[in-house]
Each structure stands twice: as structure tokens, then as C-alpha cells.
């Protein structure tokens, strides 16, 4: 599980990463 932003950033390249949550959309509601 990923808990920090830095770790999340690293995790994008690792397909085995299990994310806690993924948000779809970086608009007003996503941000």
C-alpha cells in the first residue's frame, strides 16, 4: 500500500504497486 506522495510518485512505474485510491480527473473536484 502507498501512503506518501513521494512513494506514490515512485509507484507509477511499478505495475505491482497496490494503491489505496486512484482518482480519475484533475479538475475542480479532483484537485
Amino acid at each position: 500500500m502507498v501512503y506518501s506522495q513521494a512513494a506514490a510518485h515512485q509507484a507509477w512505474t511499478d505495475p505491482s504497486t497496490d494503491f489505496d485510491a486512484i482518482i480519475i480527473g484533475a479538475g475542480v473536484s479532483g484537485l
Binding site: 510518485h9 494503491f19 485510491a21 482518482i23 484533475a26 475542480v28
Partner: protein
């Protein structure tokens, strides 16, 4: 976070067409969660244009160091629930796949643009663009022959701006709108200081109103006051900035036919006063719906555009567009040549952005199919058979001042995820009974409202989208205060209305 665009902002990233601008007061539209952000950001205009809003959202992303969590140029094409792990597999257009416990949709309400279904669109040899996909580079209209198809809120803003420099503009209108004046203006340093000093009261007032706008409905009924009082009240609104004439009007204008006819007549008289050619004025006055029963576009000199000698209005209910040609547009009675065609033809609203993603829940059930007869949700946030999927501003949410509502929705979703994580829960889901009850409540809350009798994106109609020809109740009309009360009751009860495991 996955984002299709190359930058943050969503609506305010994509819709960079000429004249794109807020209809809500800028100082009610910003995020309220950070006092520091409120202290440091100065709004330039009472109703900010797209560039200012995009700058603001970029500032937010930078200030809170959000970019490291965002994968840009990453369109999500599918999200599949996996029962064995109680997780979602999220699949991107480029083939990347990710696993996640929770998937949060923040896909917007008006973010799936639709093109008209005229033949020949691809054949046009000039420049053409949907307003949503407007290029980042400036487009020059000087000396050009330009067509705008569509006269909704976007079309009204575009037409008004393009008309300032265009060689010749032809507007193709199917449905005229009950536009009202925006009355935008610059915010002086003194005004900004006053706004900043009053943010607490401003946001508190927004929380109290039905649509989270700064304008609260007048408690009086239209016919409770004399004709003179009524006229004076409406004159005042017509001369004031923003949505007051829609959201702050007498309490019955959107439910009582006589009241609605009176306010419609008032606005129609204004259009007749502002448009010199009586025949053109009549074409610009809506005849198939009353004031406020569709989204009211706010304008800055829109009607005066039609007094310019280089502007032509084509009513396509009289002379329908037959096809787009290599050189322009052919209607039933004429052929027009253009250098530029602008499609202000709107969006597959509310569910459109969900429909474009292959979202599959338990047993592979497709969300689009589950919603084919209309959305079914619990609080507009959860869907039964779609565990661990949470929608921020999904169908059945209340519309209105979007960030005010979205902030609450995001907070509620965050609270639920925190609750689940704290208790080691792997699976949270709306119950079928809960979704049915909320959906029934959403439908009941719209009963008697005149907008339900009108075709518009707010009733799920889009003539350019297959399967979107039947009116649906797409949004909650009970008002944000009631919505929050219901959400808070669910929280206070320890989310026992949900299925938790």
C-alpha cells in the same frame, strides 16, 4: 490521479474558447479549505475568465504539491472491480494497468463534448473546432467568415466575444435561451480586502442556499406583491451581477406556471428593448420553455451583437442544417461559405463522462447498462454492485456552485475512506435498497419543478447522443442543505446504511 489533459483544471483547462468565463462570483468559487490560500489569492474580476481560473487552479496544484500525484496525458478507458481482492484494476488508453482499493471518479458534469450529427463534418476544409477542444494558440477572427453552431451558455459567451473582431458571423440557433446580464467588473484592491475579510460569512451564506450560490431565494411568492413592486424587484436584479435573477428570485418562479410566465414576460420585454430588429428579437426569445427552466446563460452584450450589420441569425428550426460542406454549411434554403466553424454544441452531460469509461462492477456488470434507464445511486456518491467506487459530484448530486458542492462531496468521500482504512475494511458498497431509496427520493424532490418538463442537458437530453432522448432525473433538487443533512446522518450512524466488510 489520472488526468487526460496535460495540465490541471478540467473544465478550466479544456474550455479555453473566446469569452469562457464564470457565471458564479469568483470569490464564491475558490476553494475554502485553506485560509492561507484565501489570504494569498487575489481575484482580478468578479466573474473570472478562463485564463484567470486556470492560473488559480495551477496555483492550487503547486501550492499543495499535487503534481507529483498526477499522471497527465493518462486517459482512463476502463475500471474493473475484482471480487477476489476487493480492488479495482484501472486501465489506461496506453495500456498501463494499476490496482487500487478505491477508485474515486472526479470526471465532471460537463466534460464529454458532443458534436452534431450532421453529415460532412469531416469534409470542411477551413478551420473548425468544438469549444471544449479550443486550441491553446490564439485564433484570429479579423476579416474572417465565421459560423457558430449552438446558443447555450458556451455559445452565448463565444458569440459575444467573436463578434467584437469578426469579419462576418453567422449564428445557427436551434433553441434560444433566457439569457440575463452578467454585469462583470474588475475587483479593486479595496473590494478584494473587503471580500477577504468576509470570506467566512460568504462561504457560510453559500452553504445555506439551495444551490450553494451567494444568492438566496426570496421567500415571497410572485403574486404576493403588487405589479409595481414586482417590476421594481426584477429591474433591480436585471441591473445586478450574477445569478440573482435566477437563484434569488421569488420562491415560486420555477414551480408556478403563472409566476414563471410573468418573469419570462419581463425578460422577453428586455430582449425586445435591446434588439433593434423586431423579427430577430422574436427569434431570440424562447417559446418552448420558461425562464430558468434551462440553465440561464449570463451575458455581456449578447443581444446587442445582433444589432451589428455583420451578424446573421439563422433559426435552424425553420431552415435546418442539412450538411457541412467542404466550404461551409448547407441549410434547407441556403448555402453559406465560412473560414471557421465553431461547434458550441455542448456535452453528453452528467453520465456522459462515465459512459466513456468501461466501468464494470461485481460480476462484470457495466455501469452504463445499469444506468441505461437513468442513474441509480446512493447519495450520488455510491452505486450498489460497484464496491469501493466513490463519485465526487456524480449523477444525483446537487448541481449549482460547483466547488462549494465538490468540496463537501470530496470531504465526505475522504471521511468514508478514512473510516474504512481505520477499521481495516476492504469492501464498502451501497445496498440495493439504499440506492433505490435515494434514487426515489431524488425523483420525488424534482416533482413539481418546471424544469422536468423541458428537454435539456439537466434532464438528460442530448439529441446528438444515442439513447439520450428520454427525460431523466439526473440531479438532486432537494437543495444542498438537505443533501448535507442526509450525508451527515449516514456518517453519524457509522455508515451502517452501507454494506461494509
Amino acid at each position: 490521479m489520472f488526468e487526460t489533459g496535460t495540465g490541471v483544471g478540467g473544465t478550466w483547462y479544456w474550455n479555453r474558447y473566446p469569452g469562457a468565463r464564470f457565471d458564479s462570483e469568483s470569490w464564491t468559487y475558490g476553494y475554502s479549505f485553506s485560509q492561507e490560500l484565501l489570504e494569498e489569492w487575489d481575484w482580478e474580476e468578479h466573474f473570472a475568465g478562463q485564463p484567470e481560473t486556470e492560473r488559480y487552479l495551477n496555483h492550487v496544484a503547486d501550492k499543495f504539491d499535487l503534481r507529483c500525484d498526477i499522471q497527465f496525458k493518462s486517459r482512463v478507458t476502463a475500471a474493473h472491480y475484482q471480487e477476489d481482492t476487493c480492488s479495482w484494476e484501472v486501465i489506461l488508453e496506453d495500456g498501463r494497468r494499476y490496482n487500487t482499493r478505491f477508485v474515486i471518479t472526479a470526471v465532471g458534469v460537463l466534460s464529454a463534448p458532443t458534436m452534431p450529427r450532421f453529415p460532412g463534418v469531416e469534409s470542411f476544409r477551413g478551420q473548425s473546432c468544438h469549444t471544449h477542444y479550443w486550441p491553446k494558440e490564439p485564433v484570429k477572427f479579423d476579416g474572417k467568415r465565421v459560423a457558430v453552431i449552438g446558443t447555450g451558455a458556451t455559445g452565448v459567451q463565444t458569440i459575444t466575444e467573436v463578434a467584437k473582431t469578426v469579419g462576418h458571423l453567422t449564428v445557427f440557433q436551434r433553441t434560444p435561451q433566457w439569457c440575463a446580464p452578467l454585469h462583470n467588473g474588475k475587483i479593486s484592491d479595496g473590494e478584494m480586502r473587503e471580500i477577504r475579510a468576509n470570506y467566512t460569512e460568504i462561504f457560510a451564506r453559500c452553504q445555506q442556499t439551495h444551490g450553494c450560490f451567494i444568492h438566496a431565494t426570496d421567500p415571497r411568492a410572485t403574486l404576493e406583491v403588487t405589479e409595481e413592486e414586482r417590476e421594481a424587484f426584477w429591474e433591480k436584479f436585471y441591473g445586478e451581477p450574477g445569478f440573482g435573477i435566477w437563484m434569488g428570485n421569488f420562491r415560486d418562479i420555477l414551480v408556478d406556471r403563472e409566476a414563471n410566465a410573468l418573469i419570462s414576460d419581463f425578460v422577453a420585454r428586455k430582449i425586445r428593448q435591446r434588439v433593434k430588429d423586431p423579427a430577430v428579437a422574436e427569434k431570440l426569445i424562447p417559446k418552448n420553455h420558461g425562464f430558468g427552466t434551462r440553465r440561464v446563460p449570463l451575458e455581456s452584450g449578447y443581444f446587442e451583437v445582433y444589432n451589428q450589420p455583420n451578424i446573421k441569425l439563422v433559426d435552424i428550426t425553420e431552415t435546418p442544417i442539412e450538411r457541412i460542406t467542404p466550404t461551409g454549411i448547407k441549410t434547407s434554403d441556403a448555402e453559406y461559405e465560412f473560414d471557421i466553424i465553431i461547434y458550441a454544441t455542448g456535452f453528453d452531460a452528467i453520465t456522459g463522462s462515465f459512459d466513456r469509461i468501461d466501468i464494470r462492477g461485481v460480476d462484470g456488470v457495466l455501469l452504463k447498462e445499469k444506468w441505461q434507464d437513468g442513474p441509480q445511486t446512493f447519495l450520488g456518491i455510491l452505486v450498489d454492485d460497484f464496491p469501493n467506487m466513490l463519485m465526487v459530484m456524480g449523477p444525483h448530486a446537487g448541481l449549482g456552485n460547483f466547488p462549494r458542492a465538490a468540496e463537501y462531496s470530496a470531504d465526505w468521500v475522504t471521511g468514508l475512506i478514512r473510516f474504512a482504512c481505520d477499521r481495516g475494511l476492504n469492501r464498502i458498497e451501497a445496498t440495493a435498497a439504499g440506492a433505490t431509496a435515494w434514487t426515489d427520493h431524488v425523483i420525488e424532490s424534482s416533482e413539481g419543478l418546471l424544469f422536468t418538463e423541458v428537454d435539456s442537458w439537466m434532464t438528460g437530453i442530448n439529441r446528438n447522443v444515442e439513447g439520450k432522448q428520454i427525460r431523466r432525473i439526473m440531479r438532486y433538487s432537494g437543495g444542498h442543505p438537505k443533501f448535507r443533512e442526509r450525508c451527515e446522518a449516514v456518517t453519524a450512524d457509522g455508515y451502517r446504511e452501507l454494506s461494509l466488510a
